[in-house]
């Protein structure tokens, strides 16, 4: 999944090929395209991107949608290629990912959004106007106009009781047919019963007319639902982005060169070309004489494996040597790697719990309020039927599930914001709730506790300058991880020496003649690290060791977690010796070190643990990540881990884990407090309404005040 390497970022030429144009473009001349552009944060970014349309010839329009990180572009295809447009966006410092065309579902959703907004507008217009007519009557100032105002209210309430309240009737009816009570049911009853009751009063010339309270109440409920939906969408939407992170394209060789093809259309027998650090999109047979392939995505092992011509390489492996060609032997969807990706995607669809839970509480509250009203209505009917109707109506209007319907999402937003400020990307709002009950925290080794790359352990300056230069000269061309480590550790000297008869033998090392002397660097695998020996004319001179470096703050964070009584464990697919030596160094208990774990074994360990948190990356962790109550992807293995995890750490430090636990605690505390206030308000208000101290109009005023209060408290606590 590591497709975001530099080469592919720059090469967007596939966008100009007909196979891709079909799926990525829209418009009458297929001249429109959408990009997901990460990194749009402020108005400056918007301006920068949108200004492209004035500077790039052929770009008719570019519109940015900030909340969704989307950019829509319309081009004149004769002047501007999509690939050039993408390059222009890259030049501005953004990373555009072309999105395939929106499905019908998304188009339908857009239409629904618009209809909802229109409904909201109608509700606001009617409720507002009814309120102006009613206002005079509250003070008894209407005089001769009283009946005119009442009838006008009645007329204005007609669109409310029919059109505005329609979704409540539909929802109530659907839930009744499924033999359950939904939150819509009390609303539908309040709207209809209130209408009938008020109309009868109107016809009888009486004064108990509640079109004002009812329309205001329905409007407020619609507003809160609309706001809630927006919140939900903003933070819980993920499918769209995932689509784009799939292995999208591959170079397929033909008689004249190569061509980009969508990965889906790859066939068995196709010959494909890959460059360094690209991921194999299929099970393949190696055609080039040899290739070094990193399996860390599959097994967590850091040392790349060498494959010789004709051997089979699994899908998902990452090419670690320079370009190589392969023949496709098995398709992605039939491979282990493909299966893992598919499972990850399936899992995500059923991952959306927190708001539905808040809805459930709200439903419970409303149902009990409704039952109370009903019981009261019947028992008080004999005393005074009008009073019975008035008081139960007041109760239904007063009862407000705001803390659930509004307070919970709002508390979550503030927590998400706070998390974002500390460099955590939360992909799943259930995290806060789950994180509260975490007992065990599993850390993956590679890419989580340690870097994915090797680092030289010894101080390179202990070797004399001339040998440093010789080593660099030998390793200059090599793409072996050890060569990278040398180049990272030894400061670049001005000029390199020329090497004669340079030979790199896979699995053994590199050798060559400099000033007539034979120099060799031989790799060797030790117990817990990778070693390398340096020979001059067959005489051993130096020994080097390499390790994946431990990431910053690790020790401090582990100590702090232990102090807070979490059980911390190390789980890795790497070899036993490597894992154990790291585990000891970081103070893990013996029974909490799990080594040589393949994806299935990790899954097994995680699923047998109570309330586990898993911190890892890579495809090999994804099954375990999904199974954990809370899954955190540390930076590095971004795309794959993001699909399977709830939280992504954008900073190299694991400090985010502590932040996550803190924020979760605050967030759940805030939600609890909101619920408490809500229960208090509803109990007190309910008693007052039923004992006749609150009439339906006062109830309709109190209800928004109570929600305002909850919002204020949430805002206030969320900011402090």
């Amino acid at each position: 999944m590591q497709n975001s390497n530099a080469l592919e970022k720059i090469d967007f030429s596939f966008l100009d090929q007909p196979e891709f144009r079909k799926s990525f473009t829209s418009g009458p001349e297929s001249n429109c395209i959408r990009f997901y552009v990460s990194g749009i944060r402020c108005s400056k970014c918007v301006r920068k991107l949108e200004n492209l349309s004035t500077t790039v010839p052929g770009l008719k329009q570019l519109r940015v949608e900030l909340g969704k990180n989307l950019a829509y572009a319309e081009v004149n295809p004769e002047i501007l290629n999509f690939s050039d447009l993408a390059k222009k966006i890259v030049e501005l410092g953004f990373n555009p990912i072309p999105l395939s065309e929106p499905s019908q579902e998304i188009a339908a959703q857009k239409l629904e959004d618009r209809n909802e907004l229109i409904r909201l507008g109608v509700a606001a217009a009617c409720a507002g106007n009814i309120m102006t007519f009613s206002f005079a009557t509250y003070f008894g100032e209407a005089g001769a106009f009283y009946s005119i105002f009442s009838w006008l209210s009645f007329i204005l309430y007609l669109p409310v009781v029919t059109y505005v309240a329609w979704p409540f009737y539909v929802g109530a009816w659907t839930s009744l047919r499924q033999k359950s009570l939904s939150i819509d049911f009390p609303m539908a009853v309040a709207s209809l019963a209130g209408f009938v009751f008020s109309t009868i009063e109107l016809l009888r010339g009486k004064h108990d007319i509640y079109f004002d309270s009812l329309s205001g109440f329905l409007f407020l409920i619609l507003v809160s639902r609309w706001a809630q939906k927006r919140v939900q969408r903003r933070f819980l939407r993920r499918e769209e982005i995932e689509d784009t992170l799939r292995l999208q394209r591959v170079r397929v060789l033909n008689s004249t060169g190569w061509n980009w093809l969508p990965t889906d259309s790859l066939k068995i027998g196709d010959r494909i070309l890959l460059y360094r650090s690209e991921t194999l999109p299929a099970q393949v047979e190696l055609e080039t004489s040899y290739a070094r392939v990193g399996m860390s995505w599959l097994s967590g092992e850091i040392k790349p494996k060498t494959f010789l011509q004709g051997s089979t390489v699994p899908a998902g492996a990452r090419l670690d040597s320079s370009e190589a060609t392969f023949v496709v032997k098995g398709l992605l969807k039939d491979s282990n790697f493909g299966r893992i990706i598919q499972e990850v995607q399936k899992f995500n669809l059923t991952n959306n719990r927190i708001v539905s839970r808040a809805d459930k509480w709200a439903q419970w509250l409303l149902v009990s309020v409704f039952l109370c009203a009903l019981v009261f209505l019947f028992s008080y009917w004999s005393t005074s039927s009008e009073e019975a109707i008035r008081r139960s109506l007041a109760l239904i209007i007063l009862a407000c599930p705001c803390a659930m319907a509004f307070g919970v999402p709002l508390a979550l937003i503030f927590s998400l914001r706070k998390a974002q400020q500390r460099g955590l990307i939360i992909r799943n709002a259930n995290v806060f709730e789950n994180a509260k009950s975490i007992q065990t925290i599993f850390f993956d080794k590679t890419g989580t506790l340690t870097d994915s790359d090797l680092t030289l352990i010894e101080d390179p300056t202990s070797v004399s300058k001339i040998y440093q230069k010789i080593i660099l000269s030998l390793e200059n061309e090599s793409t072996h991880p050890i060569a990278f480590a040398f180049r990272k550790a030894i400061p670049n000297t001005d000029s390199l020496l020329s090497v004669e008869q340079l030979r790199e033998t896979p699995g053994i090392g590199i050798s060559g003649y400099i000033y007539g002397r034979l120099y060799e660097l031989r790799g060797e695998v030790g117990d817990s690290s990778i070693g390398c020996t340096f020979f001059e004319d067959k005489k051993l001179l130096f020994k080097f060791t390499f390790e994946a470096a431990i990431r910053p703050d690790c020790q401090m964070i582990l100590t702090e977690l232990r102090r807070r009584n979490y059980r911390v464990a190390l789980i890795s697919g790497d070899r036993k010796e490597t894992v154990e030596s790291l585990g000891k160094k970081l103070g893990f208990k013996d029974e909490d070190i799990f080594s040589e774990m393949d994806p299935d074994k990790k899954l097994f360990v995680i699923s047998r643990t109570q309330n586990p948190m898993m911190i890892g990356d890579g495809v090999n962790d994804s099954l375990a990540l999904m199974k954990a109550s809370v899954s955190v992807a540390s930076s590095g293995g971004v795309e794959a881990a993001l699909k399977s995890s709830d939280v992504y750490l954008t900073e190299p430090s694991l400090r985010g884990v502590l932040d996550l636990l803190d924020i979760s605690k605050d967030s759940i505390g805030l939600i609890r407090q909101n619920l408490l206030i809500s229960v208090g308000y509803n109990l007190l208000g309910g008693v007052l309404a039923l004992s006749g101290y609150i009439n339906p109009f006062v109830a309709a005023v109190l209800m928004p005040i109570s929600s305002g209060f909850i919002l204020f408290i949430t805002w206030w606590r969320g900011h402090s």
Binding site: C42, S43, K44, V46, R47, E50, N51, T54, R63, V64, E65, L66, G67, K68, K110, D113, R114, L117, I118, G121, V122, A125, G128, N129, T132, G143, A144, F145, I148, L152
Partner: protein
């Protein structure tokens, strides 16, 4: 007070007019994105 017989229809017409304008703007897609326009006006046109 008789002026109310004139004012009320006018006020209702006005309200209806604004509602119609709102419905038109929604159907037109003007409120599909509620966030970016707020940022867009904050930045000056380049070279302006």
């Amino acid at each position: 007070m008789n002026v109310l017989y004139l004012m009320i229809p006018i006020s209702l017409l006005l309200a209806g007019g604004f509602l119609a304008a709102f419905i038109w703007s929604v159907r037109d897609g003007q409120v599909d994105d509620l966030e970016t326009p707020a940022h867009r006006i904050l930045e000056d046109e380049e070279g302006a």
